[in-house]
Amino acid sequence: MSEPLLTVRGLKVVFDGFHAIDGLDLTVERNEIRFLIGPNGAGKTTLVDAITGLVKPAAGSIVFEGNELVRRREHQIVRSGVGRTFQTPTVFEQLSVLENVDVAASFRLALPKLLRARRGTTPEVTAALEAVGLDALADAPAGTLSHGQRQWLEVAMVLCQGPRLLLLDEPVAGMTGEERTRTGELVQRIAGEGTTVLVIEHDMDFVRRFATRVTVMHEGRILTEGTVSEVQQDETVREVYLGRPRDARGAGTAEVVS
């Protein structure tokens, strides 16, 4: 029997006495597309921050492929196979789109190799750029990208690193329906190629279409876990998160064009 890819036990993150994550347990299996939803401020981003070393937990353990991540430094966590994007995309504005991805792809090179100039483009870089549809903009400075384009670029950057666990924080926020579909399909493809993906998202339509399993967070803990429809039927989830659709609007509350 295979052990889970990621096991979080008794995690606590405290800011000035405020418990943003309050004794959270979470298990993520290999090759799933796990969605994490929950009210604003539930602690979803903080959980990702804790897994990737950006915030230091007050207690608890985070085990990834048998290795404890707590107290490791950020870049070591990335090197052990965990990649992430940010809710507010950050890219290297002075570098071109291609260079952004290339820098990301070169992270395992030793210093002597890094000191050589880049000649041409490696296949993984090309593939990542094509996957997010930025190949046409490869030579544009990343600083000139729009909000949405930056999100794509971030995805390309983690993609080419071939992480075994990929954490996406609201990857489709601000995208049109068509773009959402493309992103969702991309996520499915990545998962198919052996990467486990944990997605934070508020777009329930997107969740419905692409989730294998959904975890709901509330006030720093796991509220419930299950399939999309199980979760959607849950009274508390409706109460604190989904809200009750009112007659006047019909069923779809925040439906995106698809």
């Binding site: 800011f15 405020f18 929950g38 009210p39 604003n40 401020g41 539930a42 602690g43 979803k44 981003t45 809710q87 507010t88 000139t144 990208l145 729009s146 909000h147 949405g148 384009q149 794509w152 609201e170 926020a173 601000g174 995208m175 049109t176 329906g177 068509e178 773009e179 508020h202 329930m204 604190v240 998160y241 989904l242 809200g243 659709p245 009112r246 609007r249 779809g252 509350t253 925040a254 439906e255 995106v256 064009v257």
Partner: protein, 250 residues
């Protein structure tokens, strides 16, 4: 080709002489990068115009040009009958334009309360009750008043951004993807809030939104952008179902 100052055909529907805000054939962009080409659109008085389009077509750039953070290289921006093209952003704000930027902007080291107060105090003519009114629309912020805004979660910050804009009691509210990152139940509340503001406060709104249904439910007017141009615009009344969707799916 964009030498023609007259709005092109497609946008003629998006602009009326009695509109509160009239963007007339504006060219603009970031620094030396040209992004907008002859953009025209209007926001009706006490109405809502919804601006749609794929990533990177220039929606945010339009909004930033309207508030004056970016300069219009050509064309005019008329607000309430006054040409504001040359005004500085703060003077436009004082004229009654409020802006909720995309991507959760705030004063990170000021508390939630201070974020609102600083805006309210920026002008002598704003009553303190503006803050209470804004908080009534977003009651979840009441628990967070003393927290530095930079520590808020994405959704919390978005709520604060809208609340802060309302504190200025604007005539025109510019919302750049206000539902981005907000939990479904609150999106419903925001929708209610917008509808209510239109009704009771006589507010006009220019809304950039990806959720087409949400947008069209609220809007009287719509405009669709592509490649820095307005490619379709008009009234939502009598809009053939799926028309906009088709445009966006290009």
């Amino acid at each position: 080709m964009s030498a023609a100052t007259a709005p092109v055909d497609a946008t003629a529907d998006g602009l009326r002489s009695d509109d509160l805000l009239r963007v007339e054939a504006v060219d603009g962009g970031h620094g030396s990068t040209a992004v907008l080409f002859g953009v025209s659109l209007g926001v009706p008085r006490n109405g809502l115009c919804c601006l749609m389009g794929r990533n990177g077509v220039g929606k945010s750039t339009v909004l930033q040009t309207i508030v004056g953070l970016l300069k219009a290289r050509r064309g005019r921006v008329i607000f309430d009958g006054q040409d504001i093209t040359k005004l500085r952003p703060y003077d436009r704000a004082r004229a009654g334009i409020a802006f909720v930027p995309q991507g959760r902007d705030c004063f990170p080291q000021l508390t939630v309360m201070e974020n609102m107060r600083v805006v309210q105090e920026a002008r002598r003519d704003l009553p303190r009750s503006g803050i209470d009114d804004a908080l009534d629309l977003f009651p979840r912020l009441k628990d967070l008043l003393d927290r530095p805004a930079g520590f808020l979660s994405g959704g919390q910050m978005q709520q604060l951004a809208i609340a802060r804009a309302l504190v200025t009691q604007p005539k025109l509210l510019l919302l750049d993807e206000p539902t981005e990152g907000i939990q479904p139940s609150i999106i419903l509340e925001i929708e209610d809030a917008i509808a209510q503001l239109k009704r009771t406060a006589g507010l006009s709104i220019l809304l950039v939104e990806q959720y087409v249904d949400f947008a069209l439910r609220l809007a009287e007017r719509y405009a669709v952008m592509d490649g820095g141009r307005v490619v379709d615009a008009g009234d939502t009344a009598g809009l053939e179902d799926g028309h906009v969707r088709r445009l966006l799916a290009v």
